[in-house]
């Protein structure tokens, strides 16, 4: 009798999985005793006489998401959950059928939407302001970008080639696009100084873009005849094969300047140390935060994270581009303000909670859950 009362309190609800594109029903069990060893979910729909096995429900969250490909939007599905106790099995059916729907807006991404609107507005406003007052924009010096001319110049004086080594990510990576901007600047200088350049690529799409970039740079420098497509080469799509290939080229060709630009992984230090061993001046730039210490240790100049992404604005010095950098800075200030408010709210909330007043902490936790 006691067992019956205990088990009869278990309820199972089936409902549309929120914030998704449909084709999914969530089954949630409530008031489940801790002695449950496992819980199996069964499903049937209109016309079915028996339930079929759907999956295993987690006994930590008592939640199961049924995203089986047979689930159709707008069609009712009935669920039964079998709860396995040490000495018995109890079956509980959902109180109502679950019906899957597709949503037009993902509510969990509201914080991202707010941030996107605020950030985009700031960037657009500062772009407009920059158009009106181009002189009022200041961007601090970035030594690694200023050193491009010096590095190519040194390479020319030594009569050695310049190497440009792309990172391991494709054209969809912002760092790779920034690397192409830097490549354009390097290639233009190389064309002006009439020094050989070798661009190594891990990704064939990046190679194609690099060829176009270098070609354009040579044309801008008034040396289209000097452009050689064969100097922009693809090596391999294997991480350490690429590393071995680039290292081999460095050791054989002994470049005077090496640019390591893009997203690197474990090969960063192997490349940078080999470059150092051949006596080249090295300028690295990456958005891979884990690799920054290695580049700082082994290279002469390093573009740290966002410095690389601001390269096109810094090199081009166009007011519109600089305006977008300033807008991003204000976006950062906004974010810092939000973080600061969060820190104060959380700290004061924790102090008040320990003193017996949890109201502020509740507010803080709700804000935290929103983000």
């Amino acid at each position: 009798m006691i067992l019956f009362i205990l088990f009869s309190t278990i309820t199972v609800k089936a409902f549309d999985t929120p914030n998704d594109g449909g084709g999914s029903i969530t089954i949630k069990a409530y008031n489940v005793p801790e002695t449950v060893k496992k819980a199996l979910v069964y499903r049937k729909t209109e016309g079915d006489t028996t339930y079929t096995f759907a999956g295993v429900m987690s006994i930590l969250s008592y939640r199961y998401v049924d995203a089986n490909s047979t689930i159709k939007n707008g069609k009712p599905y009935y669920y039964r959950v079998d709860f396995y106790f040490p000495d018995t099995v109890i079956s509980v059916e959902s109180d109502s059928p679950g019906i899957a729907y597709a949503q037009w807006y993902d509510k969990t991404k509201t914080s991202s939407l707010i941030f996107l609107i605020v950030f985009s507005t700031l960037v657009l406003v500062f772009i407009q302001l920059a158009k009106k007052d181009p002189e009022g924009l200041y961007i601090r010096k970035i030594p690694a970008l200023d050193a491009i001319d010096e590095a190519v110049g040194r390479s020319t004086e030594l009569g050695k080639p310049t190497f440009f080594v792309h990172g391991l990510l494709g054209i969809t990576d912002a760092g790779t696009l920034a690397a192409l901007t830097i490549l354009r600047r390097v290639a233009k200088k190389v064309a002006e100084y009439d020094t050989p350049i070798l661009v190594t690529n891990f990704d064939p799409i990046v190679m194609t873009a690099s060829q176009e970039t270098v070609k354009q740079a040579y044309t801008e420098a008034g040396r289209p005849d000097a452009y050689n497509e064969k100097n922009i080469i693809y090596l391999t799509y294997e991480q350490f094969g690429y590393t071995a290939g680039v290292d081999g080229l460095m050791v054989r060709e002994k470049p005077g300047a090496i640019f390591l630009q893009g997203y690197f992984f474990a090969e960063s230090l192997i490349l940078a140390e080999t470059g150092h061993s051949v006596g080249a001046i090295q300028i690295a730039g990456t958005t891979a935060k884990e690799q920054l210490p290695f580049f700082v240790a082994a290279c002469d100049y390093v573009l740290i994270g966002e410095e690389m992404l601001a390269a096109s604005s810094y090199i081009g010095r166009e007011p519109v581009m600089l305006g977008s950098v300033k807008g991003a800075d204000w976006g950062k200030a906004f974010l810092m303000g939000v973080i600061g408010i969060g820190v104060v709210l959380g700290t004061v909330g924790a102090i008040l909670q320990s003193a017996g007043n949890g109201a502020l902490m509740n507010v803080f936790e709700k804000i935290l859950a929103f983000f």
């Binding site: 993902d106 969809t172 230090l269 700082v296």
Partner: protein, 211 residues
């Protein structure tokens, strides 16, 4: 004119659609990002042919001109042909070149993986040489780096605990407080820089990728 305007229009439309689909799970929007990645994979497959063409031509030039290290190019052609032939044969015979027991997998496991492991193992020596240069106490900043590095390294090994039982705690504090704050700052900077760059690309302000 059209050479610039058409790619800019494609970038704008694609960028806006991808941003919108991030917030709309309803079909067909919810699947568009995945579809775009599939298209990217198809394009990637074709550009791989360009990559192989570039590599083959590069080594052919080296061989023809007898450039420095030209005989490495013979090894390249040998490896390329071996991979290509065994890959095709394994695909035809087993239906998947990466199937265990295929000739392609045999060469992959016995040649390529040991070579990759060897390259990765070199990292240990390069870390030693880079650390030696980075940790030289030339000025106050480098001295701080040296002292911190010694604490962290000692705190991660049993001998550090033997020397002073609170050393692992100090190491954790350095890693979780001193190091994590600036690291998160860099991460936020990169994330915001990426958003700003994406906006510049979508709006057609950033055009360097067009050449």
């Amino acid at each position: 004119m059209l050479k610039k305007q058409i790619p800019l229009a494609i970038t704008f439309i694609t960028g806006v659609i991808i941003v919108i689909t991030f917030f709309i799970p309803h079909p067909p929007f919810g699947r568009l990002q995945q579809d775009a990645l599939t298209w990217y994979s198809v394009i990637f497959g074709f550009t791989m042919l360009l990559g192989v063409d570039s590599l083959v031509r590069f080594h052919y030039r080296k061989l023809r001109r007898r450039e420095k290290g030209w005989w490495f190019s013979i090894i390249f052609y040998g490896g390329f042909l071996l991979s290509f032939i065994t890959g095709v044969v394994s695909e035809v015979r087993f239906g998947d070149a990466f199937k265990i027991g295929s000739s392609f997998m045999y060469f992959y496991n016995t040649i390529l993986i040991p070579l990759q492991s060897t390259m990765f193992a070199l990292l240990a020596f390069f870390i030693a040489s880079a650390s030696y240069r980075a940790f030289r106490a030339r000025n106050i900043d480098a001295t701080f780096l040296l002292v911190t590095a010694v604490i962290v390294m000692l705190g991660r090994v049993p001998v550090g605990y033997m020397l002073w039982h609170k050393l692992p705690n100090l190491t954790s504090w350095i890693l979780n407080v001193l190091q994590l704050g600036p690291m998160r700052g860099i991460m936020i900077g990169i994330a915001l820089g990426t958003v700003a760059m994406s906006l510049r690309l979508i709006l057609g302000i950033e055009r360097t990728y067009l050449s």
